[in-house]
Symmetry: C2
Subunit: 352 residues, 2 copies
């Protein structure tokens, strides 16, 4: 749980963004964003952030917890309809332009709120908080490092489980239990893919068994105290197969090319291009179809997206994956995924 001062800073940053957008208020409905601003980990809460007072609205199931832990917000019990409470706060605060999280809020609720708010303008505001969340503060960086450290420990254990005869499913189950034993939990459906199975980027673990000469891809990560990790490693069970070794080297080198460019101010699309062009140059371009990486934090996939069409530039404090890959259909794939922090002068690979 971050310190109170950090919640205060986040709220102040958001208020700055509202001023830039000329919004009087933002209705915050996404759980993860509410947690980011307040530390509240429950569901069914709603925030109204204004330049002055801000409100935390929840129902009787959570009101006691909210009263204990949410600072800087006036806590309101949703005894009546949430729509009416929002209307009343808007009227009392003379809120004329109210933004909402339009990539999240369902159509029907947005339309009802538009009606209820009558004179106020209720406007799609995209993903303002997701944009703030892309840049991590010191507390968040420390928490993400903890999650990565723990994942390294589980990877070391997992390595000892990789033996001929063990199925992907059973290996995935063992890894999951290792995470739970440490008090973390998987932050996504763990990927354990041996041989041909690893040719699909999002392979679901199957009954396929590891063989004496298998290459096994593990894409694993955990959620620990609210923050995630996400790493991919390939393990070789037996002797080297030249074809696999070759693409493995190309992928590693492509990753290094991308990481070299990571520093504040770099164009995000250039980071993706560095790895993609390198893989293309080696003749494997058609076997790498997905984005190079994605932000990791309270969600395992968040901003910034590191992809060919990404706009914008890197900012110190961003944390994201760099995960080039080559997938050869029916044969197998290699993906290497590390997490990188943009520092003031360059970058720090957090996971090596």
């Amino acid at each position: 749980m971050p310190k109170k001062a950090e919640f205060g800073k986040r709220l102040a940053l958001l208020k700055g963004r509202l001023r830039e957008k000329k919004l009087d208020a933002l209705l915050v409905t996404r759980d993860v964003n509410i947690s980011y601003l307040t530390g509240f980990a429950g569901h069914d809460a709603t925030l109204i952030v204004t330049s002055g007072k801000s409100y935390f609205i929840t129902d009787s199931r959570y009101i006691e917890e909210a009263g204990d832990s949410v600072k800087g917000f006036e806590v309101r019990l949703a005894r009546r309809s949430l729509y009416e409470i929002i209307r009343d706060i808007a009227a009392a605060g003379k809120l004329r332009r109210i933004g909402f999280e339009s990539r999240d809020l369902p159509y029907e609720i947005a339309v009802r709120l538009k009606k209820v708010l009558g004179k106020s303008s209720f406007e799609p505001a995209g993903e303002l908080i997701e944009e703030l969340r892309a840049v991590k503060d010191a507390g968040e960086i420390a928490l993400i490092k903890d999650a990565i450290r723990l994942t390294h420990g589980v990877l070391a254990k997992a390595k000892s489980f990789i033996k001929p005869g063990v199925s992907e499913e059973s290996l995935a189950g063992k890894i999951e239990i290792e995470f739970l034993k440490t008090g973390a939990r998987p932050s996504f459906e763990l990927i354990v893919a041996a041989d041909a199975g690893s040719s699909k980027p999002h392979a679901i673990p199957t009954a396929r068994k590891i063989k004496k000469d298998s290459y096994v891809m593990l894409d694993i990560g955990c959620m620990l105290r609210g923050y995630s990790s996400d790493l991919t490693r390939v393990f070789r069970v037996g002797g080297a197969r030249p074809g696999m070794e070759k693409i493995w080297k190309v992928v590693r080198d492509a990753q290094a090319k991308a990481i070299e460019l990571i520093r504040p101010g770099a164009r995000i699309a250039d980071i993706d291009a560095a790895a993609r062009q390198y893989i293309k140059g080696k003749g494997f371009g058609r076997y790498f179809g997905h984005a190079l990486g994605h932000g990791v934090g309270m969600e395992v996939h968040e901003k910034p997206n590191i992809a060919p069409m990404s706009e914008g530039r890197l900012v110190s404090g961003m944390i994201f994956t760099v995960e080039p890959a080559i997938y050869i259909p029916k044969t197998g794939g290699i993906r290497v995924e590390d997490m990188v922090l943009v520092t003031d002068r360059g970058c720090e690979v957090l996971s090596q």
Copy 2:
């Protein structure tokens, strides 16, 4: 995985609902509803159900899996933008009135689709599939019974873990591991709350330790082969405390009052009222703030909602929780939660 005949029946029922609503098609975007209609368990798929042909649209990551398993739908690869594919299907099929899942689809996407669809009317269609899902077929009832049976087994194990000195967190972790060992997984954040912690309906497990005279509330459930369970039990570690025993009895009796009324045709609001009025009559009305229950199936919270303002009547095949409670702030709470199936003549408590 249900049988193909069941998917066919579900699709036919949905087409009937579309006719009633005079819709030419329904755009289905919620993963769980797609899974209900097709058995497909991946993400990033979209359905268009029409009175004639129906379409299953997914991207290259899932197309192989979809081709293998989805019957009764024409599978389309989302090579271009999903918006364009939907527009083309609407044009080719002369679909004039297209409904969408307006309680789910984010505002921004709905607005873009409305624009893209031009001449067709794109209309909020609420939760048509969730309404169908409220009534379970024989296959679903069997799967839910399996999930409940497994949860009973884990509860018995959990009882043996409850000892003075064990923290809520560590107990929750152990219970989670028990579920995983059986091949199930928790269907929600398990609630383990000792003493004062149990005065919050949705308590998050903490470092609080179980004491010699604790009352420990476990609200646990699992997801097994796509279907959920959800049960709450309170365990007493040491001797009886009169205050707690008194509210425990009131809660049990309130539950019995509600269950007595469950049968096809009963007003849902009356079921809630039976328990609520009883608790009120005993002087604890202000300590029971949430709904009496909720449907359980592919989701752990689904229709029907059993609450004071619920409209509608019970139908044979519905499965829902009955979970009255009394929460005394700073002292502790008692909740007893069972799952009940509405049968042709009355009901069957599935979890006792």
